[in-house]
């Protein structure tokens, strides 16, 4: 049993699925469009809720797939299907035959400039959560210059009809509190505010992180969405929000404003997804068969999905799905 399984995407979902499939005696093949495996996690510094270095997890995953056939800087440009399975053409003109396809194409980050009222790309000191994470990883960002007051805005591009994203992006709340603690670690004298509507601490240890954020790091959580950002003459940011618990509007000057950008579907795979006959759900992510027992299968036999291509997901969610998709693929191959 040496059937090829084509995995599109070499992030956490793709790598973990490949690891499990290889252990099951199948032959996974990863096609990754960027120059390295690891996806978004490889760009992250530390992981919530316990500030675990992302590098540790990524390196372990990379080590597990070192014998897996992997194409980097490569995209699937065409895919056909017949009675023998799938026939994919890659951007390097190679052809791959496979018995099943796993879409593990993950997510994109919401483009913060679309919420113009937050001033990203207009005011210098407005940055995204991804850029702040890069600061933690590299120690450099021209915008972060010994700030005294830092604000975080939750739900940027999520729970927002105006940008057509009505869903909750799931991980941003916990990420915001993690990053709020981390910025306090770097600048202990700074005042840190987060502006939230709900704090969705959905996982084990996440509520503990919230308590720690309040008690040990003295981060001030304000319930209310920032509605307006402007710049004063010194280049500082003036924000307006309602403190909805107090029932009064607030005005505050900040040195840095961090936008917690939502996950959106990675659209670079749309053409291939369409060829495979996989639809999108109402949130614009890929449609799986059902959310309880069919989360890894699609309307098309032999086409599987795993990770954040179907909805915003945390890393543990994604790894769980990757392991589950491997079982589904194994059963599919064996029952044939």
């Amino acid at each position: 049993m040496k059937e090829n399984i084509l995995i599109i995407g070499g992030g956490a979902a793709g790598m973990e699925a490949a690891t499990q499939l290889q252990k099951m005696g199948l032959t996974p093949i990863i096609v990754e469009k960027s120059e390295q495996l690891g996806g978004h996690v490889a760009q992250w510094d530390r992981l919530f809720p316990a500030f675990h270095p992302a590098k540790d997890v990524v390196e372990k995953m990379l080590n597990q797939v070192k014998d897996v056939k992997t194409y980097l800087n490569t995209e699937v440009t065409d895919i056909q299907r017949d009675d023998n399975g799938f026939h994919a053409t890659l951007s390097n003109n190679e052809k791959i035959d496979a018995k099943a396809v796993i879409l593990a194409t993950g997510f994109d980050i919401f483009k913060a400039e679309r919420k113009q009222e937050y001033g990203y790309g207009i005011y210098n000191n407005v940055m995204t959560s991804v850029e702040l994470e890069k600061f933690f990883r590299t120690g450099h960002d021209a915008r972060i210059n010994n700030p005294k007051k830092i604000g975080f805005v939750h739900c940027v591009g999520a729970r927002d009809v105006k940008v057509c994203n009505t869903y909750c992006s799931k991980v941003c709340c916990t990420t915001a509190l993690k990053q709020a603690c981390e910025i306090k670690e770097v600048f202990p004298d700074a005042e840190v505010y987060t502006f939230y509507m709900d704090l969705r601490m959905f996982g084990p240890g996440y509520e503990d992180l919230y308590l720690k954020t309040q008690k040990d790091f003295d981060v001030k959580c304000v319930r209310g969405r920032v509605c307006e950002v402007s710049e004063d003459m010194d280049g500082k940011l003036v924000i307006k929000a309602e403190d909805t618990l107090f029932g009064k509007p607030l005005k505050m000057t900040l040195d840095v404003l961090v936008l917690m950008c939502a996950m959106e579907k990675n659209k670079s795979i749309d053409a291939i997804q369409q060829k495979l006959g996989v639809a999108n759900n109402t949130d614009g992510f890929m449609q799986n068969q059902d959310m309880y027992l069919g989360m890894n299968t699609t309307a098309q036999d032999g086409v599987f999905v795993a990770g954040a291509c179907t909805a915003p997901k945390s890393l543990p969610d994604t790894i769980g799905e990757a392991r589950s998709v491997a079982t589904q693929v194994f059963n599919y191959i064996n029952n044939k």
Binding site: L211, D218, D243, K248, K251, T253
Partner: protein, 103 residues
């Protein structure tokens, strides 16, 4: 002459100029003060709150939003029965904080 017009002061809380001295002083002896999750249990159970505007949840916010005078006025409604402390899910020693504010 009264034309029936007047200037309304801004209702914005100007966070840049809020005096946090009292709140920060309380925080030193009561670090739990930060851990309120605004669930409202203290207010719902409050003996005085059933008849007056007394609300500990709101009182904490007043201290953080520069309304110390209002907070001190509100605190006079408290009868120190301690029911709020019993119900607080964060285990905040509310009764002690109320006493410390008036000290």
């Amino acid at each position: 002459m009264d034309f029936g017009f007047c200037l309304s002061p801004s209702s914005h809380v100007k966070m840049d100029s809020v005096d946090l001295t009292t709140f920060n002083r309380l925080k030193e002896t009561n670090p739990d003060i930060n851990t309120c999750i605004a669930c409202g249990s203290c207010t719902a159970t409050c003996t005085a709150g059933n008849f007056t505007e007394m609300s500990f949840r709101r009182l904490l916010l007043m201290l953080q939003r520069g309304k110390e005078d209002e907070a001190k006025k509100m605190i006079q409604r408290c009868m120190l029965c301690g029911k709020c402390t019993l119900v607080c899910p964060r285990g905040i020693n509310i009764r002690k904080i109320l006493l410390d504010i008036t000290r």
